[in-house]
């Protein structure tokens, strides 16, 4: 009895010692990439490539963790202490929030090429087979007989781009006449069949539930959906005028410093600009900047007039204040009369 308990105690102590020692033995450095919801597959593809590249360059074994969720929710998690080393988001404001809190360099947009956005996309339409409603551009969406699905601008960056793209179109179309723009937007918003809280939810509503005539989402997303759910059942329409959607990246400096991964985090965001990463991004239907890759994928991305958020509403900050804040324009336009 006594012997047994001694043995057991020793075994326990050994087990404890081993479990405490293990992480120290395999001193593998690790970075955490906090990203938006629908980038899971994208970074699952890029991360192993980066790991191999780093191994070849530096001879160091590393690990990369991914965390995905709504871009704003992700940023909130970092504000509240999640120790992510890099962020790759789909909206400038979500990185800016971190910059305002001192977690990301104040001039983060100047630290990397193209406003720190290694890739971009635009807002496009997914319609059902043969485009039965003949939807080609934004003014088709305000017709009586068209119902659309896109995520709620209140809860989704994706939805905000859609709203701003429609706004930008109306601005051009009505030559800046405010009243006409407002009328257009009111009808536009009224034609929404379902407001899901995020991009994937909207996709489910459109595809699985068969709601609506058109799904509006990122060009990358609608192309990926079409690839996944059948090229013959859906068509992608890129409207002649749309919006430039940047996908900003940044190093979360205090976190990287604490984790001792500054060089790794910096190399990671820079890697996204490399030719191989850009090719992978294009493979996921994102538009990229690398010239050779752009040429290679030219016929995949129809040319279209891409408006900048800054040109439509001044800045993201203004967009949030004047359009999306509680009681602001979006609320007013949706008000029940």
């Amino acid at each position: 009895m006594h012997l047994l308990s001694t043995v057991r105690r020793t075994a326990l102590a050994v087990a404890l010692g081993v479990s405490l020692a293990t992480p120290a033995l395999a001193a593998e450095r690790e970075i955490l990439n906090s990203s938006y919801d629908i980038a899971r597959e994208l970074f699952s593809a890029i991360n192993p490539e980066f790991r191999d590249w780093w191994q070849a360059e530096q001879g160091e074994e590393i690990a990369i963790q991914q965390s995905h969720g709504g871009s704003s929710a992700q940023a909130r998690a970092i504000l509240q202490g999640l120790r992510a080393d890099v962020v790759t988001y789909n909206q400038v404001t979500d990185v800016q929030v971190l910059a305002d809190a001192g977690l990301v360099a104040g001039d983060w947009q100047e630290l990397l090429p193209n406003n720190a956005s290694p890739y971009y996309s635009t807002t496009a339409f997914l319609v059902r087979k043969d485009n039965p409603k003949g939807i080609e551009s934004w003014d088709d969406l305000v017709r009586e007989d068209v119902r659309m699905v896109f995520p709620n601008p209140k809860t989704s960056g994706n939805g905000r781009y859609t709203y701003l793209a429609a706004w930008g179109f109306a601005q051009q179309h009505f030559d800046g006449d405010e009243e006409q723009i407002h009328d257009f937007m009111r009808t536009f918003l009224r034609n929404v069949a379902v407001f899901d809280t995020g991009g994937r939810g909207a996709t489910t509503t459109f595809i699985e539930r068969g709601i609506g005539d058109v799904l509006i989402s990122f060009e990358s997303e609608v192309n990926n959906i079409r690839g996944e759910y059948g090229r013959d059942d859906y068509e992608v329409i890129v409207p002649p005028v749309s919006i430039l959607a940047e996908f900003p990246v940044a190093v979360v400096e205090p976190n990287a410093e604490r984790n001792g991964t500054q060089d790794l985090a910096q190399a990671y965001v820079e890697y996204l600009y490399s030719e191989e990463a850009q090719r992978m991004l294009a493979g996921f239907n994102y538009r990229v900047h690398h010239e050779a890759v752009v040429e290679e994928f030219a016929d995949q991305f129809p040319e279209t007039d891409l408006l900048r958020v800054e040109d439509i509403v001044g800045s993201w900050e203004q967009a949030m204040d004047e359009h999306f804040a509680g009681g602001a324009l979006l609320d007013q336009l949706q008000r029940r009369r």
Binding site: G70, S72, A73, R76, V97, N152, K154, T155, S156, V192, A193, V194, F195, D196, T197, G201, T204, E208, R209, G210, I211, M320, F324, A325, G326, G327, D331, Q334, R335, R336
Partner: protein
Amino acid sequence: MITLATRAGSTPKRVLPGFGLSLGISLMFISLVLLLPLTGLFGQLAGLSLAEYWEIITEGRVVASYMVTIGAAAVAALVNGAFGLLLAWVLVRYEFPGKRLLDALMDLPFALPTAVAGITLATLYSSNGWMGRLLEPLGFQVAYTWVGIALAMSFTSIPFVVRTVQPVLEDLPHEVDEAALTLGASDGTAFRRVILPHLWPALVTGTGLAFVRSLGEFGAIIFIAGNMPYETEITALMIFVKLQEYDYVGASAIASVVLFVSLALLLVINIWQGRFIKRLHGGAG
């Protein structure tokens, strides 16, 4: 025998350690798990003046969401009150094959992640789903309407009614209603005059809990609600929206309204229940 005799007069032996320790640990647990987060919630509100608070919680769209939420929760609770009673009755009073399974099934909404329930319901009731396909030609749309919200709420809150009524019904022996029937009462009278008064407190409590649960439900609803402003937006979504805007204070303000309503209702039910039981037992309690 001797030990018993010596113990008589002193406090009886308890299985768990002494009252002081038990109560202390209980209070600490409640403080950490329940009171601390609630204090945090009100801490967020500290930065608001009363006028600002009022403005946030009475904003048009938010008020519309109260209407939607409370209306749907009331319908869900009433429906659950009726059907929950029936379910509990069947489970207690009858023997049939599969009874154990049905009994276990009752707890499923507690265990199932509510988002799964929401997605399942939306799949079922959308125009190309099994049920939706049958209902829609009759002009009855469930998914993406107010009805869908009430449906999702009844799904997640049904166990509250069943599990509150069931034990009371189990304690109420068969002989009670049999006696009433032998004394010449009709079935209806026996149920109304003999059984219902005993079940009443449990039924009201269960229905009240179901209502309160529905007020805060989020996951199950957003997938089936359609989330159209002023029509099918629930209060929990308004809170979610505020959080997306990094407006913690606004979110806490709206959350506090839900909290107050729930708290008030639970309090009323408790007081009423106390009085009712007193009356039922002739003031002996």
